[in-house]
């Protein structure tokens, strides 16, 4: 068991644990906006950690670069999709994404 394989195993365990925790969060939360918060740890942190595991194993060859490309793609596209979904969910719920006059800011929506 080399130091490299230990580092890879730790990174993999962390990435997978985060993916499972994020999935539990999405399943258990009450509203779409609350659920969206648990997609981000998977698309941002888990993706970066898994890509890091690949880079530790493969270094910066074609495989390492492709893993980085996957992580960067998820990093940039994830937040854009989250914003679009949140906005659409607000429009579906309230007719407009903006806060209504007198609308409470606190709560599940």
């Amino acid at each position: 068991m080399t130091a490299q394989s230990v580092v890879v195993d730790v990174l993999l365990a962390a990435g997978v644990a985060l993916a499972v925790a994020g999935s539990v969060g999405v399943l258990l939360m009450a509203s779409p906006l609350d659920r969206l918060h648990y997609v981000t740890p998977v698309s941002v942190v888990s993706a970066v950690v898994v890509a890091a595991a690949v880079v530790v194993k493969e270094s910066f060859d074609a495989r390492g670069l492709k893993a980085i490309l996957v992580a960067v793609t998820l990093l940039f596209l994830g937040p854009v999709l989250t914003q679009a979904t949140a906005r659409a969910a607000r429009v579906e719920q309230h007719g407009d994404w903006r806060l209504e006059a007198g609308e409470k800011r606190r709560g599940r929506r």
């Binding site: 258990l28 009450a30 648990y38 074609a62 854009v80 906005r87 606190r106 599940r108």
Partner: protein, 163 residues
């Protein structure tokens, strides 16, 4: 008339060169016929971007907007712990999450392209951290609506990106 065309040509060349380098690195091949295919594919990509972009840039981010990105890894790490903590309290302690919407001020540029660029940078930067994501921008009022799982009462964009 000539300067926009020169700018388009420069952008086309830059995009083509970047795509070509990426192709060669990702394909990891020294085969000439594959390189020629990469040449063509990069040309198609550069042309597509030039057509979509037209004479003006789609986005033109300012360097000053990217400075808070230095603290982003810390903010992401902190917020990951925050949302996992909220999940733990929900599962083990039965405490429901009390998420909140918040209006934060944002300095909207007058220029349409600059405003679009700022919205993109702010959306990606703020929404990378799990505890917060952007819902929308109100240009007239100079505000950005965000949703926070664990509320922190932010007033400005800087508050959101402070570690």
């Amino acid at each position: 008339m000539q300067r926009p065309l020169l700018r388009m040509a420069a952008t086309w060349t830059l995009v083509w060169a970047t795509s070509m380098v990426l192709w060669l690195w990702l394909a990891a091949t020294k085969n000439l016929s594959e390189a020629i295919v990469g040449f063509g594919a990069s040309a198609v990509a550069a042309t597509g971007l030039a057509v979509v972009r037209g004479k003006d840039a789609l986005v033109r981010p300012r360097l000053a907007w990217l400075r808070p990105a230095v603290a982003l890894p810390l903010v992401v790490a902190r917020d990951t712990v925050t949302v996992l903590g909220a999940l733990w309290r929900h599962v083990v302690g039965g405490q429901h999450v009390r998420s909140e919407l918040a209006l934060v001020t944002i300095d909207e540029p007058h220029d349409e392209t600059a405003a679009r660029s700022l919205h993109l940078v702010a959306t990606v930067g703020v929404s990378l951290a799990p505890n917060t994501f952007v819902v929308g921008f109100d240009r007239q009022r100079g505000t950005m609506l965000v949703h926070q799982l664990v509320p922190r009462q932010p007033e400005s964009v800087k508050d959101l990106l402070k570690p």
